[in-house]
Symmetry: C2
Amino acid sequence: MTRHSAVPPPVTAVLDASSRWLPARLGEVEETLREQGGGHGEALAADAAMTLEAGGKRLRPMLVLLCAGEGADDGVVRAAAAIELIHMATLVHDDVLDAAPLRRGRPTVAATAGRERATATGDLLFSRAFALLAAAGDLRSIELLSAASVALARGELAQRQDAYDSSIGEQRYLERCRLKTAALFECACLLGQDDESLGAFGASIGLAFQLLDDVLDVSGPPERTGKARGTDLLDGTVTLPLILAAERDAGIRETDLRSLDPAAAESLCERIEATGALRQVRSRALEMVAEGKRRLAGLGAERRRLFDLVADGVVQRYS
Amino acid sequence: MTRHSAVPPPVTAVLDASSRWLPARLGEVEETLREQGGGHGEALAADAAMTLEAGGKRLRPMLVLLCAGEGADDGVVRAAAAIELIHMATLVHDDVLDAAPLRRGRPTVAATAGRERATATGDLLFSRAFALLAAAGDLRSIELLSAASVALARGELAQRQDAYDSSIGEQRYLERCRLKTAALFECACLLGQDDESLGAFGASIGLAFQLLDDVLDVSGPPERTGKARGTDLLDGTVTLPLILAAERDAGIRETDLRSLDPAAAESLCERIEATGALRQVRSRALEMVAEGKRRLAGLGAERRRLFDLVADGVVQRYS
């Protein structure tokens, strides 16, 4: 249940001439991010800049821009940059906690600069997000983004609280995913446009995103995910593949996660896969994406096509 | 250069009948803090609630309230609570990094709940501060507070960057203190009232606060500060007592902080004290407090008396 396991081809690569505005706007977001990461007049924020420049899918900024549409004003670029700053802040803090050496194939701030600087870097990115929106007087975005940030932190707390607890069921797992991942996707859509259907679309694909990430932790392969199989299991994080597999296999049900070493975690991954749980979770995620798309039935065909591309981008990473 | 080494008697204890409004308003701040820490409908935020309830001097909220004055509206209570939430968030993150077992005589979140939950708790407190102000539509407070939060993180980054660097001079040290401590005191005053003199007062006593805290790290005694002497030295944090002592004592100048163990750190503390550097830093801090008070010459005698009490409260902790 970590975030961002793999780097897919950017969705923008498949856009055609009719949607050229999107890459251009994403370029403005990148520029704003660079200003936020580096604009401190000294070399101090190098770690923050490094984190931002390491790139990523920019899925959340893309959702902001798509929901706002082609003619939106510059406020939407700031909002898109702000949500990515919050997302990056959580990644940097995650890497501190996980002592992760690599993220997106590059060394993490935690690995190169130490835990102390990485924690402060996360706090800096976090603060910059709100400072950026406040300077522009964008109260509504601050309200949406601070509420989503509260959800993120609550989701993280819930996950840590649930660690190694084999009584965690599907409902609790889904609630955690909503807090930890879906809330920020939903927020991205609402930052673009205050529309319930768009928000619901964001929440659905965010939930699917997390389910598929949790499948990937079990399925690997490590060459593709950049981490060993079963990392969540070793952390004691009970995810849906494990929950569903345990219903079918008493041996899995009786496994004490605290007793796992990396080799045992990999064996457990194979055993989970053998129950068919991964196929089941994948199909649940695909259904969530389909449900998200259905929420957009009221949009014109041209806009819907772009949303479908993003939604499919989330899925294709894992196919 | 940690924060909050000792717990002084609350300033409110010395207020007389003419300023009864202040404790009453501080009570409202406490209530708001309790709501923010605990109001998540589940036991998850217990750590956050524990942190808030552990109390503290509430110096920053008190400055907000004092600057706003007796007749201010309820927005000032929210602003006072928000700045304390930010302050608490930084304390929780500090304790994660320092692996501190105790804070204000109670176990830290990092010690009881682990680093992971403590990091998320800090993020939660941070997010709640902005969510609280955003829900009330208080854009100006968000702008001030997010800028101060950026300063805090930059100060923390600067300190980590400077670690073990014996070439750090007074100017760089003071700049760090401004970012790490004075900016939030200044912000507290400006949250109460947008007045340059009040802001300058806050910055001055904030700077004095940090200088005196750094004296305390060298002087001890541990029974009073709750931590061993020389904790900063062991962390490689170069503070003003060391900088001034090194100018006078070649032996100190040539000490490699990386080579220190706790016993050697304690010896170094004694050697620093023997140079008279602690007296010198204390006197600099007192001059800063006096300068801060002079900025308030334009206020009426009644209000000035309250500000003097707070300023003296900062100093008396260390006398």
